[in-house]
């Protein structure tokens, strides 16, 4: 061995040993359990639903054929337009009023806290109760309120004032309004909690600076509070929109989609197709449509409102 060789070996030994990086040294293996769970409980059911939507499967007979009939049926039969209209009305007004009412109640609570009024926690908690009550129970409660006989609470009170009785649940238009109102009541609580959290994040320094600059209440709301709350309002909007699109339990308990199909929203239509008519193919096709609506709506919200929020 030459002197030169010895020097090279010595040099190799002095250098720290560089271990070859394997996949086990990355975070990916730690994500495997999550991936497995998501695939099993999220991805697989979606694939199954899409698959079923292209079949004539039902829950009464074994086997199925592949067909586009479920989609054709959904789009061409007389119930489609009323279902889309009822859902559009229900979701649009529910979301708008849940946002507005949630914001107003949150604002009142924050103002109450600033003024050190007693009972703000009680108000916050009691509003939350509406959110915690299961949809079916809310349907039953509002059913008692809307009852059109003398036993109905609202009609009884209107009767004292010489008004009514109002056909809250038996007139197609009134029934849709009644169901939407009950859903606004139900969803306002959750909206309020998010809005309250958003209001708490608005910098007090900024508001004080605006007051010193002479900004009035409306200007403070428009130029400071609303822009600061934009991200949380966007999250709120997405969550309550999806929640409302997916609502069927409360509607089922309150009207079962009637009278006729005047309150049959998309989610209830899925339930009816699968569990009352046993028609898996049609129910799955409607579910795919609802999934697409939810995804497209979320993307639009994120693209339009998200970008606007960033600009501001």
């Amino acid at each position: 061995m030459s002197v030169h060789d010895t020097a090279v070996s010595q040099d190799k030994m002095d250098r720290p040993l560089k271990k070859k990086k394997t996949v086990w040294d990355t975070p990916y293996p730690w994500l495997i359990p999550l991936l497995v769970i998501l695939t099993a409980v999220f991805l697989y059911p979606i694939i199954q639903i899409v698959h079923l939507s292209f079949t004539d499967a039902n829950m009464i007979q074994i086997g199925h054929d592949y067909t586009f009939e479920s989609y054709l049926r959904m789009f061409t039969l007389p119930g489609f337009i009323p279902m889309i209209s009822a859902t559009g009305f229900f979701v649009f007004f529910s979301v708008i009023f849940q946002l507005i009412c949630g914001f107003i109640i949150a604002l009142l609570i924050v103002q109450g806290e600033k003024m050190k009024l007693r009972g703000t926690v009680v108000v916050r908690t009691s509003v939350l109760v509406a959110w915690a009550i299961p949809g079916v129970i809310i349907g039953v409660i509002w059913g008692m309120l809307y009852n059109e006989t003398d036993a109905g609470i609202i009609n009884y009170m209107l009767g004292i004032a010489g008004i009514g009785p109002i056909p809250f649940l038996s007139d197609p238009t009134m029934a849709l309004l009644s169901v939407t109102l009950a859903n606004i009541w139900r969803g306002t609580a959750f909206s309020m909690i998010l809005m309250y959290a958003g209001l708490k994040t608005v910098s007090k320094d900024l508001i004080e600076a605006a007051i010193i600059d002479g900004a009035n209440g409306f200007q403070r709301m428009k130029s400071i509070i609303l822009p600061a709350m934009a991200p949380i309002m966007l999250v709120n909007l997405i969550i309550i929109s999806i929640d409302t699109f997916n609502t069927f339990d409360m509607v089922m308990a309150l009207t079962s989609g009637g009278p006729g199909n005047s309150t049959e929203v998309i989610a209830l239509s899925i339930y009816t197709a699968i569990f009352r008519e046993f028609n898996l193919g049609e129910g799955a096709a409607t579910a795919v449509m609802l999934l697409i609506i939810n995804v497209v709506m979320t993307i639009i919200y994120l693209k339009v409102l998200g970008r606007r929020g960033q600009v501001e």
Binding site: N58, A151, P259, G260, S262, F275
Partner: protein
């Protein structure tokens, strides 16, 4: 570290294997009889009397069958959903050994159910002792018996005889009587014409059947929208529409889909007559107390004088899916002793407030008849029919409920409503098939 993990896994596998082998050995000693039932027919029944009765029967069964361990599963309280799941289980070979089945649907399970003729003969149970409609339901196309009808019900007109002397027999009379009683502060006829199965079985089918209408043909395909059946269905819708237009029935009935919706109306005290199920008699009796004496029942009013009266019967049956003869026998023993024998059916239906499905039980010492027992029996013997068990029935029923609800709420004309329901139900079928 690696060694520890490998040792741990090996231990777990060994423990698992030991557990499995243990299970195997106990399975040899004791077979499991799986029983799928609704909560109302289980040891967890909401009624304490029923719960105690069934618990006692289960205990007795386990004492007399020490080699058999009974495993009870409860169905969803949503009957349609529960029946769909049971069918799915049967389709995939996972059916329980015995199950409670909504009576009229029994036909759908027949290819998976075991024939019971031999066991019935051994226990002296005559198929023709079942009420005529029930026997028709439990008898398969091959003539064998595939189910044990347990309890039933029928629909009738309830009326307050203090207000209405003679019950209306036709819808003309219903309109007339309704107008009269409304002048006295009572409301017109109360009946379900909204979204719910009560609408189909109580308000639509009896009128439709009384005109000779058939919902499905012999092959089980929808038939209500063609030929004479279409005419009968339009006439049924027209009759209800006219009653609504004349003010005999309130528009708010369009939001009532179940017979039980009438209970609250009766409790309010201004109801003179309603269409309801036999099970409601006990509830109304409890609600009204002494005033119940004024109430009577009569056959459902028909469209025209001379139309044959009709009603629909419901109720539950038991089916045995087990292929193992020992399990079949054990299941049959349990069902007979608890629900089907003279004593079992008599005691159980008395507890439930339902009607026995066997004619001989009505005279049994074990049966405690409720109000209007004779009238209900006559209705079941002479005019009651079960809904068709065809797979298309559920969709037909849902569409008819939606359509009549649209008619009563004023958003569709009767003919249009019937034709729309027919279009939905027969979508994709060629004109010839229709």
């Amino acid at each position: 570290m690696k060694k520890t993990i490998i040792t741990g896994i090996t231990c777990l596998m060994l423990a698992g294997a030991a557990g499995c082998s243990g299970e195997d050995s106990s399975a040899k000693d004791q077979d499991t009889l799986t029983w799928l039932t609704t909560s109302g027919y289980s040891p967890d029944a909401p009624s304490e009397g029923t719960a105690d009765y069934i618990s006692e029967k289960v205990q007795k069964f386990e004492e007399t069958h020490p080699d058999m361990n009974m495993k009870i599963s409860l169905q969803s309280s949503n009957i349609d959903e529960a029946m769909a799941r049971l069918l799915e289980q049967a389709n995939t070979g996972r059916a329980p050994d015995m199950a409670a089945i909504d009576g009229y649907m029994l036909d759908r399970y027949m290819e998976y159910l075991q024939p019971l003729d031999e066991l019935m003969e051994e226990r002296g149970l005559e198929p023709n002792d079942f009420l005529p409609f029930a026997e028709e339901v439990i008898r398969g196309e091959d003539g064998q018996i595939y189910g044990l009808y347990m309890s039933t019900d029928t629909r009738m007109l309830y009326y307050n005889k203090e207000v209405i002397e003679e019950p209306p027999e036709t819808w003309e009379e219903v309109i007339e009587v309704s107008k009269e009683v409304q002048k006295e502060g009572y409301q017109g006829l109360v009946l379900p014409v909204g979204i719910g199965e009560g609408t189909t079985v109580t308000s639509i089918l009896p009128l439709f059947w009384s005109q000779g209408g058939e919902l499905v043909d012999e092959a089980g395909n929808p038939s209500f929208g063609k030929g004479k059946n279409r005419e009968a269905m339009i006439k049924t819708f027209d009759t209800l529409y006219r009653a609504r237009e004349e003010g005999a029935i309130s528009k708010r009935m369009a939001s009532s889909g179940q017979e039980n919706d009438a209970n609250g109306e009766v409790a309010a005290g201004n109801t003179a007559m309603f269409l309801g199920g036999s099970w409601q008699a006990a509830t109304i009796e409890e609600t009204l107390g002494d005033d119940f004496e004024n109430w009577e029942v009569a056959s459902l009013p028909m469209i025209e004088e001379g139309d044959e009266t009709a009603s629909s019967a419901g109720g539950w049956a038991w089916g045995i899916f087990a292929e193992d003869p020992e399990k079949q026998e054990a299941a049959f023993d349990f069902l007979m002793d608890s629900f089907i024998s003279e004593q079992g059916m008599g005691e159980f239906t008395s507890l439930q407030g339902s009607l026995p499905a066997r004619e001989s039980v009505y005279d049994s010492e074990y049966y405690d008849p409720g109000p209007f027992n004779d009238e209900f029996l006559e209705s079941l013997e002479t005019e009651a029919r079960a809904r068709p068990g065809a797979p298309s029935y559920n969709e037909i029923s849902v569409q008819l409920q939606t359509s009549i609800s649209q008619v009563i709420s004023g958003s569709k004309e009767p003919e249009q409503a019937v034709d729309d329901a027919w279009e939905i139900v027969t979508f994709g079928e060629s004109e010839d098939d229709k």
